[in-house]
Amino acid sequence: MNKKLIYLILGVVYLVIIIYGLNAVYNVEATLRPKEAPAVKPENKIAIAHTEIFGKLERPQVIFYHNKHSEALKQEGCKTCHPADEFDRLGFDFPKKVVKKDEKTVMNAYHDQCIDCHKKKSSENKKAGPVVCADCHKEKDKSIVVQYPIFEFNFEYHDKHVKKLKEKIGKDDCSLCHHTYDIEEEDEALALVYEKGTEESCYYCHELGKKRGPELTAITRVAAKKGLSIRKASHQQCLNCHLKYQEEYLKKGKKEACPTECSKCHTGKYKTVAELEKVPRPARDQKEKPFINIKDAKLKGVTFDHKYHETASKTCRSCHHETLKSCKECHDLTGKPEGNGINVARAYHDVFSEHSCEGCHNKKKSEKDCFGCHRNIPIMDIESVGSKKEACAICHSGEIKGPLSRPPLSVAKLDPEKVKKEVTVKVLEKEFEPSKFPHLKIIEKLVKISNDSKLANYFHKDIQTLCEGCHHRSPAAAEAKKDTPPNCRNCHSIAYDPEKLNKTRLLSAYHRQCLGCHEKMSLEKGRKCADCHKVKKGGPTEITHIKNENVVKQNKSRILQVWRPD
C-alpha cells in the first residue's frame, strides 16, 4: 500500500520537474543574450580594483568618493593621505607607501591606511568611514565602470596659462612647467634642468608605453623608474601648482580660480581644430615657411607652409612625433638608426602614417567633401604605380615661394558646347521618364568646394582635374581630344556579361557613380529613387520579360490553389 504511495509521490515529482523544465527550456533564448554593464558618469569617484595585480577579484571593487574625503579632511590637507617629497611636492598616489607590488602588500597597504584612519576618526567620535569589508566592497558596485575622459591640454589652455602666469610673475617663465632631463648628469637631483628653446610636450618623455628612439628611451627609462607616467607626472605638475594658488585665492576670499577636482579638468569636452584656429601657437622660433631641400636629393625642394599647418593641427606631436626637431634631422636619404631606418622619402610620403604629409592629406581626402571623388582615385603613394607622376611637381617645385595658394578655379571659361548644362540619362526609360542630370550645377558645386579648402585649392591645379572625379580612368596623355572627357557609355556596355565581371555595365555604372558620390559626400538629395526617376505614366508594370514557365505554371495553376490561398 505505502509502496503505491511512494510511486505516486515519485510520479508527481517527475511531472513537476517535466513541466518546470519544459517551461525553462522554452524560455532559454531569453538567457542567451548577455547583459551589458551599467556605465556611470564619474563625478569625482575613483574605482579601486587593481586587476593588474589581483587578477580576478575575490570581493567587489571599491568605489572611492574623493570629494567626501577632501571635504572631510580640509584642515588636515592632502598630506594625510598622499605622500610628499623633499621639496614638499605632493605625489598623488595612494596608499602613501607600497614597498612592492604584490597582492598581499598592496591589499594590506590599502586596508591599513583606510581603516586605521577610519578607526581613528570614530575613536575621536567624529563622522567616520566604514571599517567592515562589505561597507566598502559593495556588491552593487561590482560591475560599475568609472572611466575619466582624457584631458586635452590644447593650445588654448597653454595660451591662457602663459598669459595668466605672465601677469602673476611679471615675465613669461616656461620653466614653471617645462623641463628637460640631462641624461649625462650623475646627480639625479640636478638632472632635471630647464634651458630656453627646448620646451617640448610632456608626452615625449612621460608617455612610457610608447616606443621611442635611442636618446629619448634613455630618458623615458628614468621616468619609468620613477614611475612618472604621463598620468602621474601631469597630475603632479598641474595639481601641486593648482593647489598652491588655490590656497592663495581662497585666502583672498575669491572663488576658486584653478580647478582641483577630477571632473573640473576631465570634462570629456574637446575643441576642434577649427575652434582653435584663432588661438596663437606657442612660439619657439620656428620658421614660418621653411624651404625643405634635402642635400643631393633627386627631387626638387619643397616650400612648406609651417605656419598654416600649425593652425591646421591640434598639437605639434601630430607631425613631430618624437621631438620638436625637424624631420630631416632623423630621416635622411638612406634612413639612419635614430630615424628608425626610415628614409626621408617615406617619412614624408608614407600614406599610412599619421605623421607624414601624405598620411595626413589622405585623411583629409577621405573627409565628406572630398571623398565623393577621391574614393575612386588611387592614393598618392610613392610605392603605388597608379598615381600620376606629374602630381609630384605640385609640391616639388624647387623654388622658394611666397604665399602658397592658387587663384580660385572658375567655370567661366568652360565651353558650353563641350560642357553640357544638363545631361538626360535614358537607361530604365521603359519604367521611368528620362532623368535630368544637372551637369554644370555639379561642376559649380565641386569648384566651390575646391576653392573653399586651402588644401584642395592648392592641389587641384586646373578645372580639368575636377572632371576626373567622375570621368575617371581617362588616360589624359593618350587622348586625342584633350578637353573632352569620355562618355560613360563609351566604356560601360549596356549588356551584362557574366564572363567579364569587373566590367561594370552602364545601368550600375550610373547608379554606383551617382549614389556612391552622394553617399560619401553625405548629401541628402539624390539618395532616393524619386529624386532622379519620375515614374512613367502608363509604362509597363513588369520589370522583367522572360519567366520560368514551369514554376509560374506551378504557382499560378488553378487546382493547386485549392480552398485557402494564404
Binding site: 556579361d497 565581371l501 545601368l507 554606383r512 520589370i543 520560368n548 504557382n555 493547386l560
Partner: protein, 298 residues
C-alpha cells in the same frame, strides 16, 4: 546579351578557355578540367546593395508570385522588420545597422555545392541541376526533411494549402535554359548581384577584397561554408552582424549522413548471417532438434 552568345559561354568551357588563353595565359590551367559543367552562382556584394528591392519584384514576376510593392514608402516600412524568405517570397532584403553603417543584405537559397535538401529527398524532388540550380519538383511527398536538413532554413512549406508545395529560389532555372541571367541579377541597378561561373565570381570577389582591403573583411561567405555555395557574399562587417551564421562549419551537409548510409549494406549482409549462425548454434542436441524446430514456429 543575345541568347546564342550566352549559350556559347555556358554550353562549353571552350569559348571561355579561348579568351582565357588570349588574355591571361595564367588562367588556362584553371580553365581546364570540368569547365564544361561548371557551377553558376551569384556574387552578392552587401556593400553595394541599396535596398531598392527590385530583385524581390523581379523574382516575384519571374516565378509568378504575388508582386510586392517596392515604392519607396513601402520599402521604408518593410525594411524595418527582419524578414525571412516565405512560400510567397523566394528572395528578401534585410537592413542591418552596424557600427560601420547600415547594410542591405539580400537573402535567398544559397544553392550549396552539396545541398543538404537534395541529399535528404527520398524522391529526388529536390534536385541539383548540372550547373548548380537547386530545384523542386511536383513528385515531392511533402515530408519536409529538406527543411530540417537545410542549414539556411530556405525551403519553405505551404502549410495552409490542401495541396501544398515546397517553395524556394531556383536560381531561375527556366530563364537559364533560355540563356538568360536570373531575374534579380537582370534588374539589380548597382550590380550588387553578379551572375557568373562560380570560379569567376569567386575570383571577382577576391579581386575586390584585395583591391580595397579597408572596405571588405577578408572573408567570402559561401566559399567554404557547408562545403561551398553558389551564392557568395562580400561584406565590410563580420558576417554574424548581418545575419549570417558562422557556426555552420565547412563540411558539406550530406557528409553527416554518410556514416549511416555506408553502414547499411554491411548490416544487410552481416546481420542475417549472424542470426542464422546463432540460431544454429543455440540448437540443443540432435535428437530433439525437430521438436525445437517445430516449437520455433509457433
Amino acid at each position: 546579351m543575345d541568347r546564342r552568345t550566352f549559350l556559347k559561354i555556358i554550353g562549353s568551357g571552350i569559348a571561355s578557355a579561348a579568351t582565357g588563353n588570349l588574355l591571361t595565359p595564367g588562367r588556362t590551367l584553371a580553365k581546364e578540367g570540368p569547365s564544361a559543367k561548371e557551377l553558376y552562382g551569384i556574387l552578392v556584394d552587401t556593400t553595394r546593395c541599396i535596398g531598392c528591392r527590385r530583385c524581390e519584384k523581379a523574382c516575384a514576376e519571374v516565378n509568378g508570385l504575388p508582386i510586392p510593392d517596392i515604392s519607396e514608402k513601402a520599402n521604408e516600412s518593410v525594411l524595418k522588420t527582419m524578414r525571412k524568405t516565405s512560400p510567397t517570397q523566394y528572395t528578401i532584403t534585410n537592413l542591418y545597422k552596424t557600427e560601420k553603417g547600415s547594410f542591405y543584405v539580400p537573402r535567398r537559397c544559397m544553392h550549396c555545392n552539396q545541398p543538404g535538401c537534395v541529399a535528404a529527398c527520398l524522391v529526388k524532388a529536390m534536385r541539383k541541376r548540372p550547373l548548380g540550380h537547386v530545384t523542386w519538383d511536383l513528385n515531392c511527398i511533402g515530408c519536409r526533411l529538406c527543411m530540417i536538413s537545410c542549414p539556411f532554413d530556405i525551403p519553405k512549406f505551404e502549410y495552409n494549402k490542401a495541396i501544398p508545395r515546397i517553395q524556394k529560389c531556383n536560381l531561375c532555372f527556366g530563364r537559364y535554359n533560355k540563356g538568360l541571367v536570373p531575374g534579380c541579377v537582370e534588374v539589380c541597378p548597382t550590380e550588387a548581384l553578379m551572375y557568373g561561373t562560380r570560379r569567376n565570381i569567386l575570383e571577382e570577389g577576391k579581386r575586390r577584397i584585395a583591391q580595397n582591403p579597408d572596405k571588405y573583411i577578408e572573408h567570402i561567405y559561401g566559399e567554404y561554408e557547408v562545403g561551398g555555395t553558389s551564392h557568395l557574399y562580400l561584406s565590410s562587417v563580420p558576417f554574424e552582424q548581418i545575419g549570417f551564421r558562422k557556426d555552420l562549419g565547412t563540411v558539406a551537409y550530406p557528409e553527416y549522413s554518410t556514416g549511416f548510409l555506408y553502414a547499411v549494406p554491411f548490416i544487410f549482409v552481416l546481420w542475417p548471417i549472424a542470426m542464422l549462425g546463432i540460431n544454429r548454434a543455440t540448437k540443443k542436441s540432435k535428437e530433439d532438434e525437430g521438436h525445437h524446430e517445430e516449437k520455433g514456429k509457433h
